[in-house]
């Protein structure tokens, strides 16, 4: 019995050899640059690797150091979660809301609005605009307007004050958060069959909110799941925004995130063991929150 099962499997593998050949090139790159690095990071995180010397196994020391003795790392975790809690859900709901409203517009106007809302996510290098808007002196546009209107009597130090930097990073990240997930919502809502809405209207759906809850949302579950993945992964990897806005490190580490900490140890200090431990922690934060949210979202409309 067991033997025939194996023979069957081998037969199937032989029959599909062409498929394996077609997939081989991608899988090679995928394994080398996506699967292997995760395993390698887990391995390095238990060593004191520094590129120059051979890695020595040091057990959980990197993790212990990070959690018990590295106040800046704790700060980075806090900041990352603050940013993710604001940017993730807020950007996600905003993406959906905007996509839903756009669907009500005539086709041409909907296309224009889609582009207007998507544009910021392409503006990776446009941080300059925000440094001009929030510039510290009275030449900064926001300061100048506030001074002009008499709301403040001295310029606010937006980019150097620890209080405001984190808020700015959150605002800009939300501004940039209507990305691929948003486009997925726009397309998903358009694709809900019209006759479902019609049937629902005849069955007594009274207003757009009922329609949204009973028809649109349940029909969009796959897109909702995909959008959530994009939004969670994106909101936990905020880091470059602060770098290009206020430089590294941010004033009294006010907007220091896990990604900033990772790059500091990995690419500046070249303490690869410690950096890998940070990467592993970030990896599990991302995977666990993704799986949790997936579980939650699967309950929508059931």
């Amino acid at each position: 019995m067991k033997k025939t099962k194996w023979q069957n499997l081998i037969h199937q593998i032989k029959k599909s050899y062409m498929f394996y050949l077609m997939m081989a090139p991608f899988l090679l790159f995928f394994v080398v640059f996506a699967v292997y690095p995760v395993l390698k990071a887990i391995f390095y995180s238990f060593t004191d690797y520094n590129i120059l010397e051979k890695p020595n196994f040091i057990g959980l020391k990197n993790y212990a150091q990070l959690i018990l003795h590295d106040a800046i790392f704790i700060k980075a975790i806090q900041n990352t979660f603050i940013i993710a809690v604001f940017v993730g859900p807020f950007g996600y709901i905003l993406s959906f809301l905007v996509a839903w409203l756009i669907n009500e517009l005539p086709h041409w106007l909907g296309t224009i609005m889609t582009i207007v809302f998507y544009m910021p996510s392409m503006a990776g290098g446009a941080m300059l605009i925000f440094s001009l808007l929030f510039s510290n002196d009275s030449n900064g546009y926001i300061n100048a307007y506030l001074l002009d209107w008499g709301l403040i009597d001295a310029p606010i130090l937006w980019l150097t004050s620890a209080k405001t930097v984190l808020v700015l990073v959150i605002v800009i990240s939300v501004w940039m958060s209507l990305g691929v997930g948003f486009l997925s919502f726009v397309a998903g809502i358009k694709n809900v069959q019209e006759d479902q809405y019609e049937a629902a209207a005849i069955d007594g759906i009274r207003n757009r909110w009922q329609e949204l809850w009973f028809i649109t949302l349940p029909n969009m579950k796959p897109q909702l799941l995909f959008g959530a993945v994009m939004s969670i992964t994106g909101s936990f990897s905020v880091g470059a925004v602060a770098d290009s806005l206020v430089g590294f490190p941010s004033p009294s580490y006010a907007s220091h995130t896990i990604v900033n900490h990772l790059n500091d140890y990995g690419l500046i200090r070249l303490e690869m063991g410690r950096a890998s431990a940070i990467a592993v922690i970030l990896f599990f934060i991302m995977i666990v929150s993704n799986l949790l949210v997936q579980k939650l979202l699967r309950k929508v409309g059931t």
């Binding site: 599909s16 498929f19 077609m22 997939m23 090139p25 991608f26 995928f30 640059f33 996506a34 690095p37 990071a41 409203l101 009500e104 909907g110 609005m113 582009i115 207007v116 998507y118 544009m119 910021p120 392409m122 503006a123 446009a126 300059l128 605009i129 925000f130 440094s131 001009l132 030449n139 100048a144 307007y145 691929v180 486009l183 997925s184 726009v186 397309a187 358009k190 694709n191 019209e194 019609e198 209207a201 759906i205 207003n207 579950k221 796959p222 897109q223 799941l225 995909f226 993945v229 994106g234 990897s237 990772l262 790059n263 990995g266 690419l267 990467a279 970030l282 991302m286 799986l291 997936q294």
Partner: protein
């Protein structure tokens, strides 16, 4: 074929119109307009700034909208570009080369992998599809360090390969192509099979043309990420650096001199415009692809 291959907005049925109140429409429309302005404002501001003469840029109280538009900032930028360390054409070539090889390579390699996964079941196919969905749940920030070590061990530091090769492994593009291919009717592939076409032949002459929106989307994604890539910690030779790196040097970090402010505004307007125009030209493809982007249960 599924509905995605015929994509147009339809007029709302009579029964459904009753679910929309006039007041609600006005409030929603107003909300969307205000939000749209807020989202568009920084972009609008960037273009206005690029067209401002220097005295308007440092006027108090400042004005967002330009009064006497001028192309001087762009002319100044071109003057700066004429005096770069390496001729500007070289930076441009580097960026384009990396983008073309990176995206074409990615599309060919990833689509070859997507086709069997989307249309057939064979030992391991479910596992690999799952692995690809899982890989969307974390991103390059996690793999930076090991990938940096791998790339340096492969001797790719200071070569185009350091930028190009990791982009081959991008799973988002593959994921879109895979989902889109599932919409291709099996009968079409069967017919080709009966006519004696090999899988490779079917892939290149039937599947790829049908899933054009998906690989155009993959192209846009790769373009956006590679166009913005400064080659940080991978590229040190000036003659291999990208346009994005060169433009960031004009910016000169956080201390922006008055004299350079205009050049800088022009540079960021151009850096932003190029991916934006490409997206504009191809946005129908992207929306069609996104219709199939969902994660199945």
């Amino acid at each position: 074929m599924r509905k995605i291959f015929n994509f147009e907005s339809e007029t709302r049925s009579y029964a459904r119109r009753n679910t929309r109140s006039f007041g609600g429409n006005v409030v929603m429309g107003f909300f969307l307009a205000v939000l749209g302005y807020i989202f568009f404002f920084p972009v609008l501001f960037m273009y206005n700034n690029a067209l401002k003469p220097l005295n308007e840029m440092f006027m108090f109280p400042p004005k967002v909208f330009v009064r006497n538009p001028t192309f001087n900032n762009f002319l100044d930028l071109f003057r700066v570009l004429a005096n770069t360390l390496v001729p500007f054409g070289r930076y441009m070539f580097n960026s384009l080369f990396v983008i073309v090889i990176g995206s074409v390579g990615h599309i060919i390699i990833a689509s070859l992998c997507a086709y069997p996964l989307a249309k057939y079941t064979f030992p391991g196919s479910k596992f690999i599809s799952k692995l690809i969905v899982y890989s969307l749940m974390f991103n390059a920030t996690v793999t930076t360090i090991p990938n940096f070590i791998t790339i340096s061990k492969l001797g790719l530091i200071d070569s185009y390969g350091a930028i190009i090769i990791p982009s081959f492994a991008s799973t988002l593009g593959l994921y879109f192509m895979m989902n889109f291919m599932e919409g291709i009717p099996d009968s079409l592939l069967e017919a080709a099979k009966i006519d004696g076409a090999s899988h490779l032949r079917i892939h290149f002459s039937i599947v790829l043309p049908l899933v054009k929106p998906a690989w155009v989307t993959a192209f846009i994604l790769i373009f956006q990420s590679l166009w913005g890539s400064t080659g940080d910690s991978f590229i040190y030779k000036e003659n291999l650096k990208s346009v994005a790196y060169m433009m960031s040097q004009i910016a000169g970090g956080s201390s922006v001199g008055v004299a350079r402010a205009g050049v800088l505004a022009a540079a960021s307007a151009i850096m932003f415009s190029i991916p934006a125009v490409i997206f504009l030209l191809m946005q129908t493809n992207v929306i069609n692809t996104m219709a199939t982007s969902g994660i199945k249960e």
